[in-house]
């Protein structure tokens, strides 16, 4: 009871101090750093830019501010000489707990205010992609616990040292550790700056939130452990640190709590299921070796896989049954996601002993087992657990099991047997009923399902494949429409439906594909006339094309992309630009990017040509050619471009910034202008189109286009020299 009365007093007192209001005001400003100088999110989608970056900036900067106030408040009574009186009038442990809890309460209120303050701006920027739940979750998962951790650390350190400058120094060391190179690949060390690789706009996935929550829990335990330890060290009877510590041990519950919290933190850290403990580099050699063993196997089998996904906890529960025609003698190997545990293995009803080697290879463990030499029996493997991300891919995470989006690849779905070649695979998968599943790199939809009546559906399919390479499920819709040359199946996130209608995306796709096919030829991966365009979650970080289908990243249609004036004058033109990447760069012709020659340049030029045909020469000149000329002139005028010797004198950060700006202008402005000059020198648009068509055709014919096209090759096609295309 004493605690609550002290808590009320402390809370009221704190609210009457000017410092707390100043710190609160500064904390409210800290997310602004995320819009300007601090951008930790690796792949900057709109959500990353307007939720991830500001929240993480506010988290880190705010935590430091709360640590300052915690140290100032901790030392206040000692500075004023009233500490002896305070200790005499109130039990020190309850008083410390009340003071810290009051500070944490105010920080919680500031977190809420902060979230509310930036809500209108974020909602305006994200437009139809804004998800209030996801937005608030970011503040609650990252900002609030980190501020609490910081308060506990700072307060604990001050109580142990009883010197403000020393505790500030120790706190600074903790901050340094979190930002140091040591913690760069050790994501659990980043107590102050939690990691976000990429946020999806259209398929908001909570993988990073789950990781953030878990790491915050780990550090809360550790910080609370330190704080409890500091209570043991609280000075008593005018004694020093050691004397007070010995006295403090008499309160047995304090060391027990401190130890329990610290041990809990350490155990949670050790058993974390999120990131594999393998190498930072992808182990291609081991992967190839495993594949080779698989290829040399002769035993043929059929397989049935039963998968049940829990989107709340991100876990999978699976059962795989293999009908083995022939058993391989000796030791067999299977590979499975490192987060899954094999629960049982039987062959012909007989339990099989197995040995899982905890050596992480690209986020997978190998399990060794021997089968009785009896042919024609059924091997049943039951497994399950949390889908672990391979360390080599971090901080980007492309596989996840969530309620809005699921993606699993290879051994995330089912075991891969090294010594058996599977002829036929039957799959049965249970997942939330709002998600539409697609299988394989071709993204074939699963249509045969049973509604379980409990908010889940069980999908079934039979495939003539050895292995499922890719499983994607999301809130997708499918549109089917036709242009002059193609029939399209356009699959995209339901949340983008309004944008697809607003920007007339279907018509744009048709006109781009018809135009580009007529002017540059048919892409190699378009098989027949039917074509599938599949929207990918931006967490995958890249797209690809296979026969009859091509993927495109959701960023293409995000408000942030559609407002980037580098790519076009308005949203429709920017989408045209992104679709032209089906020909140039991305999944189309690969260009040997040398800083000037680039797929972007070709794409901008082609966008200009389509826009010119669509809206006329005057419009295209005004919004494209004049813009290119102006930016190129400005680039030429730039002091550092005129005097590159000064670039060396600049800190690396600034020269990199300028280099990035130059690269952008070269790709988006200078190169299209040079292509326009090439067009003039060649004699007109028709001649230019003939060159590009020839180049594209030759690329497609040359070993499936494995070699990037160089600038020199382009010049050779044109019969021009570099000098000819230099801008005057």
């Amino acid at each position: 009871m004493r605690f609550f009365s002290l808590y009320r007093v402390e809370l009221r007192r704190l609210l009457l101090t000017k410092q707390i209001w100043l710190i609160a005001a500064l904390c409210l400003c800290t997310p602004l750093l995320g819009y300007t100088v601090y951008s930790p999110v690796v792949w900057e989608t709109t959500s990353g830019l307007y939720i991830g970056n500001p929240v993480l900036a506010g988290t880190a900067a705010g935590a430091i501010l709360w640590a300052i106030i915690a140290i100032v408040e901790g030392s206040r009574q000692r500075r004023s000489g009233t500490d002896v009186l305070a200790e005499a009038s109130a039990p020190p442990t309850a008083h410390s707990a009340a003071k810290t809890t009051a500070l944490m309460t105010i920080s919680a209120a500031v977190t809420l205010l902060c979230a509310l303050l930036y809500l209108p701006f974020t909602a305006a920027k994200l437009e139809y992609l804004f998800d209030a739940g996801f937005y608030f979750m970011n503040f609650l998962v990252f900002m609030l616990p980190t501020w609490w951790i910081s308060i506990l650390f700072a307060d604990g350190l001050y109580r142990i040292t009883r010197r403000a400058e020393l505790s500030a120094l120790l706190y600074a060391a903790l901050v340094y550790i979190s930002f140091s190179r040591f913690a760069e690949r050790n994501y659990f060390m980043q107590w102050l700056n939690p990691v976000i690789g990429s946020y999806s706009d259209g398929f908001p996935d909570i993988w990073y939130l789950r990781l953030g929550l878990y790491t915050r829990l780990v550090w809360l335990c550790i910080a609370a452990g330190l704080w409890a330890f500091s209570l043991i060290c609280a000075r008593k009877y005018q004694k020093g640190l050691i004397g007070s510590f010995v006295c403090g041990l008499k309160k047995v519950y304090l060391p027990v709590c401190a130890a329990a919290l610290a041990v809990t933190g350490a155990v949670l850290w050790n058993v974390q299921p999120f990131i594999g403990n393998g190498s930072d580099e992808y182990d291609l050699e081991n992967e190839n070796k495993f594949m080779d063993e698989n290829m040399t196997s002769e035993a043929i089998t059929t397989a049935n896989h039963y998968l049940k996904l829990d989107p709340v906890f991100g876990t999978l529960s699976g059962k795989s049954e293999y009908q083995l025609n022939k058993v391989k003698e000796g030791e067999n190997i299977l590979r499975l996601n490192a987060g899954y545990k094999i629960k049982s293995m039987t062959y012909g009803g007989e339990t099989i002993n197995f040995r899982t080697v905890k050596e992480d290879i690209n986020g997978q463990y190998d399990t060794y087992f021997e089968l009785p030499y009896k042919h024609g029996q059924k091997l049943i493997i039951e497994y399950g657990g949390y889908l672990t991300a391979a360390r080599c891919y971090m901080p980007m995470v492309s596989t996840s099991i969530g309620s809005n989006y699921i993606r699993m690849t290879g051994t995330d779905c089912m075991p891969k047997l090294a010594n058996y070649f599977v002829m036929k695979t039957d799959l049965e998968v249970t997942l939330p009923d709002g998600l539409t599943p697609f299988l394989g790199s071709e993204h074939k939809p699963l249509t045969d399902f049973t509604d379980n009546g409990d908010g889940t559906r069980t999908y079934r399919t039979a495939l003539d494949v050895d292995y499922i390479t890719d499983f994607v499920a999301g809130n997708y819709v499918t549109d089917e429409f036709s242009s002059d040359d193609y029939d399209f199946r356009f699959i995209y996130g339901d949340i983008y439906r309004s944008a697809v209608d607003k920007y007339d995306v279907r018509q744009t796709i048709c006109s781009v594909f018809d135009y580009c096919t007529e002017h540059y030829g048919k892409p190699l991966y378009i098989d027949g006339d039917a074509f599938l365009l599949f929207q990918m979650n931006s967490m995958t970080g890249g797209g690809y094309a296979v026969s009859g289908m091509s993927t495109w990243l959701e960023d293409v249609i995000s408000p942030n992309t559609l407002s980037d004036s580098n790519r076009g004058a308005n949203a429709t033109e920017i989408f045209i630009h992104e679709m032209i990447h089906q020909w140039w760069g991305g999944v189309g012709m690969w260009c040997d990017e040398d800083g000037l020659w680039s797929a972007e340049g070709l794409t901008v030029y082609s966008t200009y040509r389509i826009v010119k045909e669509k809206y006329g020469e005057l419009y295209a000149n005004q919004y494209y050619v004049e813009d290119w000329k102006r930016e190129v002139a400005e680039q030429d005028r730039n002091f550092y471009n005129r005097h590159p010797e000064y670039l060396e004198k600049l800190p690396e950060h600034y020269s990199e910034q300028l280099s990035a700006l130059n690269q952008s202008v070269n790709k988006y402005k200078r190169m299209p202008l040079m292509l326009l000059k090439a067009e003039e020198l060649l004699g007109g648009e028709e001649q230019m189109d003939a060159v590009l068509k020839q180049m594209f055709a030759d690329y497609n014919e040359s070993v499936d286009g494995q070699y990037p096209v160089t600038y020199k090759e382009f010049l050779d096609y044109c019969g021009l020299t570099e000098e000819d295309l230099k801008l005057g």
Binding site: E634, D636, R637, N638, F639, R642, L650, Y654
Partner: protein, 242 residues
Amino acid sequence: MVKIFGYELKRLLTSGLFIAMLVVNAVFAWYVLTTDIIEGVAYTAPFSVWSCCGYFGKTLPLSMITVLLLQAGYYGKQQKRVDILIGASPLTYAQSLLIRTAVLGVCFLIICLIESILGVVFCAAFFGYYGFGAFILPTLLEIIPCFVFTIAVGHLVGRFHQGLIYVLLPIIFISSFGAAGAFDFFGGTFFSAYPMTLPLNPDGEPDFVINSLWLTARLIYLAAGTAILIVNSALSPKVKRA
């Protein structure tokens, strides 16, 4: 009078507000130098006179806000109680106004000096440039009219109510985005745009010239500020002695 000036100056220079704002000004100036001026104003060298004027054009709003915050202290309730004592001294209102203006002027010059030192360090450390002689006249032409005009308006409105000085703060902030051409009060926008209209020398940069319209505008601001100060002191009631 000199003694009172000394006391006033000491009081202001040792105040927490001045020290804190001096630090804020210095941090902001370094931020402007390393994020904006480093690119060079209007594509000129970061150590050109154009960039120097652009630099002060961007830092002046905060400097003037600092001066106004200090000036507001002269029109607070506490100060008004002290004014009764000052009224008992042989000091006239005009003299008192002059002392206050001079004290604020010294504070302003100290801020500008710190910013100049940062600018010198920036040019020397990053570019090995030391020829700052040509910067002095344009800089003085830029900062002095700004100070005189702002301080005069501050004194004028402060006579009526302290809160009116705070009203000037957002006005200063908004005018820092200036789009008034040569009449751009701080010059930040003018010095970014005007060089773009000039012919380039063989090195690809426009030579520095003082635009006659801009010069006229500076003189108008200076004259207007001085006139307001004079009128303000002339209209003041005579200090009654006890």
